[in-house]
């Protein structure tokens, strides 16, 4: 039985590549945090300030 051709494994990321990926992750985290604030503010505006006035 003939062996299936082996797929070449890409070389590991260099420290510089890892630093770039880390910066990318930080940017993504900032965007997600911004989205949380965005949805919070828009929800307040859409529903009005009464949404904060709820019995516990």
């Amino acid at each position: 039985m003939s062996e299936a051709p082996k797929r070449e494994i890409p070389p590991a990321f260099s420290p510089e590549d890892m630093a770039r990926r880390r910066r990318r992750s930080v940017a993504l985290a900032l965007v997600l945090a911004g989205l949380v604030i965005f949805f919070f503010v828009v929800t307040l505006v859409k529903t009005g300030p009464a949404i904060m006035n709820r019995p516990l």
Binding site: E8, R24, F38, V45
Partner: protein, 317 residues
């Protein structure tokens, strides 16, 4: 295929994740196009007969901008093969190997769906449906079909770039009327002279990539005549907002003066046909056309939102 295309394939084959940075993903959104979309959508919002809460207006504008960026990203994903062949686009993130095609596709689809849902929740269903249609029109109708099949590609595809003012008006009123249809017409008629001026200079690039732009199919002379014809129709249409009462005296002056300049530059493109001077004439028209569209909408914005409107008698509409 060319060596450039082979390099593009070898760089992306087999990899599962790139080392692209945030700025590479941002570049996929075509930020300069996004900026014009924001300006034109805002134009549709401020000239709409109605008012909107500033936060809702800002959120809607953000969703429209992200939707426009998403369609640009899907365009870059689909066109990566021909972008690798053209000098003007070879350094874009996908052909340069900084972003994988699969990453760009996932990014574009996620932002498309997200922007449409957000606009639907924040504003209304009509504006969300129009944004979805605009993304579909640019990514599928223009990028996947028209661009590689007809020299009228940017004429019909120009509609995608012309929709934002209509989306802007739909955000405010839940409907769209004559004002945003006029703004649509201005951008729609502006697109052919703008792109064909660039295509005259970059016809070698387009020929290499096999894209049937008008200069490559009908020839430079026919393209120059078409540029003049569209400019002659566009400039008077651009004055309509002043005659219909949603552009004031400043808009009237700016639209007439810059419209005449556009026509003069178009005629120079028609007249100067040889050598470096012909390239300069085409570049001058291309560069000025961006300033022209920006100025028209900037004045509309200033007049309608900053209280700088010196109203004129309404002649039409």
């Amino acid at each position: 295929m060319s060596a450039a295309f082979d390099r593009f394939v070898s760089r992306t084959d087999g990899a599962i994740s790139s080392t692209g940075e945030a700025r590479d993903f941002f570049a996929l959104l075509k930020p300069r196009v996004m900026f014009l979309v924001v300006v034109t959508a805002l134009g549709g919002m401020v000239t709409a007969p109605g008012t909107i809460h500033p936060v809702i207006g800002f959120a809607s504008l953000l969703a429209i901008a992200v939707g426009a960026g998403a369609s640009g990203c899907l365009n870059m994903w689909y066109d990566a093969d021909i972008d690798a062949l053209m000098v003007r686009t070879a350094k874009r993130p996908i052909p340069a190997g900084r972003i994988l095609p699969s990453e760009a596709l996932a990014f574009g689809l996620t932002l498309s769906v997200g922007s449409v849902i957000v606009l639907g929740l924040v504003a209304n269903l009509l504006s969300a449906a129009m944004l979805a249609f605009t993304i579909f029109f640019y990514a599928v109708v223009y990028s996947m079909w028209l661009k590689r099949s007809t020299p009228q590609n940017i004429v019909i595809g120009g509609a995608a770039g012309a929709f934002p003012p209509m989306i802007g008006e739909a955000v405010v009123t839940g409907d769209f009327g004559l004002h945003s249809i006029v703004l649509f017409a201005i951008i729609f008629l502006w697109t052919p002279p703008h792109f064909w001026a660039l295509a005259l200079v970059k016809s070698g690039d387009y020929a290499r990539a096999g894209i049937p732009m008008l200069p490559n199919v009908a020839g430079p002379a026919a393209t120059r005549r078409q540029i003049v014809a569209y400019s002659l129709v566009m400039a008077p249409v651009a004055v309509l907002p002043a005659l219909m009462g949603f552009g004031g005296l400043a808009y009237l002056i700016v639209s007439v003066v810059t419209g005449l300049a556009m026509i003069a530059l178009a005629f120079r493109v028609l007249r100067v046909t040889e050598g470096e001077a012909a390239h300069k004439a085409a570049y001058a028209l291309f560069g000025f056309s961006i300033l022209y569209l920006f100025l028209l909408f900037a004045v509309l914005l200033a007049e309608n939102s900053l209280g700088l409107m010196w109203a004129l008698p309404k002649v039409l509409g």
